[in-house]
Amino acid sequence: MKPEEKIPGASYKVYALVWIILIILTGMTFSFAGMELGGWTVLIALAIAGTKSGLVLNYFMHLRSERQLIFRVIIPLVMAVFLVFILLTFADLAFRGGMR
């Protein structure tokens, strides 16, 4: 059995491919920043950053190959916690002038 089959997600080929995609995505972020997209730019930038992080988490950090429930839960958990913190904070910040 080839080593990369014994250890799921551990093949050099996969890593190299992921790396290429990461570089391309970085390039995309860079070009989008140059375009006049107003409020969309930050959303696109965050979406691309999220995708890059997802690739690092799943392939470099092998989350994709973890079988146990706890490993599949922790990243969504921390995202949910962060989201809640930032959304409730903005419930204050974005409405200081009163509700519209």
Binding site: V81, V84, F85, T89, A91, D92, L93, F95, G98, M99
Partner: protein, 545 residues
């Protein structure tokens, strides 16, 4: 009584006290990796810090016995209540139950030999001690201890010339200790359960510790970074909370309370876990609604992380946020109420054995309920405008933290004392101490609720003559309470040296720690047990006993 079912007949001489490990003498303690020794190391210092917190409180109440200055200057009073808060919250109430009883009993209750990361456990203790030393340094060096309140609100904390940087650095270190403990206990619960110890057979104490540990991991980093920012602000003037540089002090409050509200659940959940474990034993009855209690703890941890803005209703926060946070605050009362209901339902038609552990649990149920109900009153927006920053607030939180967590902690002391030390304290004295404490507590803190209702501001050194009687009453109550505390601790201390030798299972409980020797051997179990019954299966237990 029913014969104990100690399946491990280990010679008492081989308790963990007698097996020092790699080192000798004091090093065998401060360099230990045995979770039981680490638990006791925390025990000693938690109690020491509790005493210092009580002493600070004693002098605060002495000063407040009459209007005007009595025994100290206003600056001293400000420092006293700041230190009282820092010590009690960060050095006592947040760590106490997880680090003392979580460390000591989690591995045993799941049938393991130790926690997942014994050396990290030791590191946690060293960080705890280091944090305490740094906080102590802030008292005795430079321009003296912080006077900001334990909440370190900006911009005052950025301007006041006293030792804020040292104190916040100490808090940061203590936060690291807390996070590592949380990581250790979660991993231990996931990985080291003995065969047959399913999640549904875990003692409810462990469900509570589990929920608590998640909050420690996820919430503590936020205060970590906030303390770092205060520190950086003081030295580099970064500007993040400084209005003169565009910073928003309300954002400081958000960052602070995003941790510090969940921290109150770090404080209370483990104590609730103790009540859940102790009540069935002394009602001789299975807990009512096991899954409801287990899951309500997780719900408290989750919903409790959404309510922090209720500390900020009058801070200048938006109306919309106020509404949201008030609504969420009312929601979080529900899982707590479920627990109270289930404990009472467990007691109902049980065969009550009124021993000290149960007495303290009953105290918890009553005092926590008072605290919780007052919480609802201040969680409503309109009353909060009048009650915020009055004595109502410390009245409320002392009912919850001291009446709740404190009595839960004392219940744990009295419940697990024979297991940890192999001796029994004098039970009648413990009950007398309880009565005195209960009376003193209510005289003291109910007076505070009344003072707040009447409009007495908190953190004030002086006050109008109309508040005189209630302040006098509160101070008297504090003396009665302290008398009760002294009797309680003296009784336990005496029991340590002169108490009768305890059996392995004096309470006839069914959880695993009672099936091994008192005190336990180093490796906890000769053979890792195979679990076949639940933690409150007294009938099963009697059958096989």
């Amino acid at each position: 009584m029913i014969a104990t079912r100690a399946t491990e007949s280990v010679h008492p001489k081989t308790s963990f006290y007698h097996e020092p490990g790699r080192y000798r003498g004091i090093l065998s303690w401060i360099l230990t990796v045995d979770h039981k020794r680490i638990g006791l190391l925390y025990f000693i210092f938690v109690i020491a810090f509790f005493f210092s917190g009580v002493v600070l409180g004693f002098f605060m109440r002495l000063e407040m016995i009459a209007p005007g200055g009595a025994i100290m200057k206003p600056q001293t009073y400000n420092s006293l209540f700041t230190l009282h808060g820092i010590i009690m919250i960060f050095l006592v109430v947040i760590p106490a139950i997880p680090t003392v009883f979580g460390n000591f009993f989690l591995p045993i209750q799941i049938g393991a030999r130790d926690v997942a990361f014994p050396r990290i456990n030791l590191l946690s203790w060293w960080l705890y001690i280091s944090g305490a030393v740094i906080v102590a340094l802030s008292i005795f060096t430079g321009e003296g201890p912080p006077d900001t309140g334990w909440t370190f609100y900006a911009p005052y904390s950025l301007r006041t010339t006293v030792n804020v940087p040292l104190a916040v650095f100490g808090v940061f270190i203590l936060g690291m200790s807390s996070i590592l403990t949380g990581i250790n206990l979660v991993t231990t619960t996931h990985r080291l359960r003995a065969p047959g110890m399913t999640w549904k057979r875990l003692p409810l104490f462990l469900w509570a510790i589990y929920a608590t540990s998640w909050v420690q991991i996820l919430a503590t980093p936020v205060i970590g970074i906030t303390m770092v920012l205060i520190f950086l602000e003081r030295f580099f003037g970064v500007g993040v909370f400084d209005p003169t540089k565009g910073g928003d002090p309300i954002l400081y409050q958000h960052m602070f309370w995003i941790y510090s509200h969940p921290a109150t659940y770090i404080m209370i959940l483990p104590a609730m876990g103790i009540v859940s474990d102790v009540v069935p034993v002394f009602a001789r009855k299975k807990i009512f609604g096991y899954m409801a209690i287990a899951l309500s703890g997780m719900a408290i941890a989750a919903v409790g992380s959404l309510v922090w803005g209720h500390h900020m209703f009058v801070s200048g926060q938006s109306d919309f946020a106020n509404l949201l946070f008030s609504l969420l605050t009312f929601l979080v009362a529900v899982p707590s109420a479920i627990k109270v209901f289930n404990w009472v339902a467990t007691l109902h038609k049980g065969s009550i054995v009124l021993e000290p552990p149960l007495l303290f649990c009953l105290g918890f149920i009553f005092l926590f309920s008072v605290g919780g109900l007052t919480g609802l009153i201040q969680g409503a927006l309109a009353p909060n405008v009048h009650l915020h920053d009055t004595y109502w607030i410390p009245g409320h939180f002392h009912y919850i933290i001291f009446g709740g967590m404190g009595f839960g902690l004392f219940a744990a002391f009295h419940y697990w004392f024979p297991k940890m030390f192999g001796r029994m304290y004098h039970r009648k004295t413990a009950k007398i101490a309880w009565v005195i404490m209960f009376v003193g507590f209510n005289v003291f803190y109910f007076s505070m609720l009344l003072l707040g209702w009447e409009g007495m501001p908190r953190r004030y050194y002086d006050y109008l003559p109309q508040f005189r009687t209630l302040h006098l009453t509160a101070t008297f109550g504090s003396w009665i309470l302290i008398a009760g505390l002294i009797i309680m601790f003296a009784n336990l201390f005496r029991g340590l040296f002169k108490g009768e030798k305890a059996e392995d299972n004096p309470w006839n409980a069914a959880t695993l720690e009672w099936q091994i020797a008192s005190p336990p051997p180093t490796e906890n179990f000769q053979n890792i047990p195979v679990i076949q019954s639940g933690p409150y299966d007294f009938k099963e237990f009697a059958k096989n006993g």
